[in-house]
């Protein structure tokens, strides 16, 4: 009985320690995928193996270990390198057209299609 409990506890310990480990790694990978490698542009630092990206990955790891949240890490890199380093740009006065244009095109296109469709429906 005692050994059974012991094995159970050991099993639980490993299960949970593994869980927390993989969670940290998941967060690290997620952040790495969202940061642009500024040397090999077009790649995230997760994909890249340049010196720059390798150092960035280390910094991200250190920041996570020191207890910084995902948002704090992004804002740190944003301050150091500018918003260009983030793969998920913010909505602001400089780029609002980029965000709104597709929606506008979609709506206008929808109206055009609807009008055409409405006409053909009447004909049917």
């Amino acid at each position: 009985m005692k050994t059974k409990i012991l094995i159970y506890i050991i099993f639980l310990f490993f299960a949970f320690s593994k869980y927390s480990f993989s969670n940290d790694l998941k967060l690290e990978n997620k952040i790495n995928k969202n940061l642009r490698c500024l040397i090999c542009q077009g790649q995230s630092i997760y994909d890249s193996q340049s010196d720059f990206a390798e150092s960035m990955k280390l910094v991200v790891k250190q920041k996570i270990e020191s207890g910084m949240s995902e948002e704090e890490i992004y804002s740190f890199f944003k301050i150091q390198y500018g918003e260009w380093i983030l793969y998920d740009p913010e909505f602001n006065t400089k780029n609002f057209a980029l965000w709104l244009l597709p929606i506008l095109v979609f709506l206008v296109g929808g109206i055009v299609i609807l009008k055409k469709f409405g006409v053909s429906k009447k004909r049917l």
């Binding site: 542009q41 960035m56 280390l58 150091q80």
Partner: protein, 174 residues
């Protein structure tokens, strides 16, 4: 008549594509957005290159009106070209030059300084490259020019050449 028209259009299309690629591929596609915000240089604590004792930037950035922080490595070829300008700056200008030795082997770095002279007042170690990321650098070589309040007034990505050297001189002799 129609055949001739086809011929001309194909040839002109080929010429058009040739020039598109000729100029398009020549252009440097390294994009760095202009950053006009003036930031304070972060106070990092790094190991000294010679004594290996922990040194903070607050202790070094004292006693001069301008500072140049230069990230270099002995394995980096452009660093050699830029080094002569740093030595000249050291001799002729009231600027304190601080080196960050980036991902380098100690022996090679010492040889490098022996051969090309040492313009640095202090050299700090950055063995894994993390310090360079913390200060917002892209790689080697890279230089920051700070004023007396430790604010970054100029950032030079890549080696210092004749043109940039003159820009620096203008900036500090203002």
């Amino acid at each position: 008549m129609k055949k001739r028209y086809y011929k001309y259009s194909i040839v002109s299309f080929l010429i058009f594509t040739f020039f598109i690629f000729y100029y398009g591929l020549k252009e440097k596609n390294f994009y760095t957005p202009e950053d006009i915000s003036i930031k304070k240089f972060p106070n990092l604590i790094l190991n000294d290159f010679y004594t290996n004792s922990k040194t903070s930037f607050d202790d070094i950035l004292i006693g001069s009106n301008y500072y140049l922080i230069n990230i270099w490595a002995s394995w980096c070829l452009p660093c050699r070209e830029e080094h002569t300008y740093l030595v000249q700056l050291k001799k002729n200008s009231p600027i304190k030059i601080i080196g960050i030795n980036y991902k380098d082997k100690r022996d090679n770095a010492l040889k490098f300084l022996d051969r090309y002279d040492n313009p640095y007042s202090v050299i700090l170690n950055d063995n894994n490259g993390t310090a360079s990321i913390e200060v917002g650098a892209y790689g080697v070589p890279e230089s920051f020019i700070l004023n007396a309040e430790k604010k970054i007034i100029k950032k030079i990505i890549g080696p210092i050449d004749k043109k940039k050297f003159n820009e620096i001189k203008k900036l500090i002799n203002k």
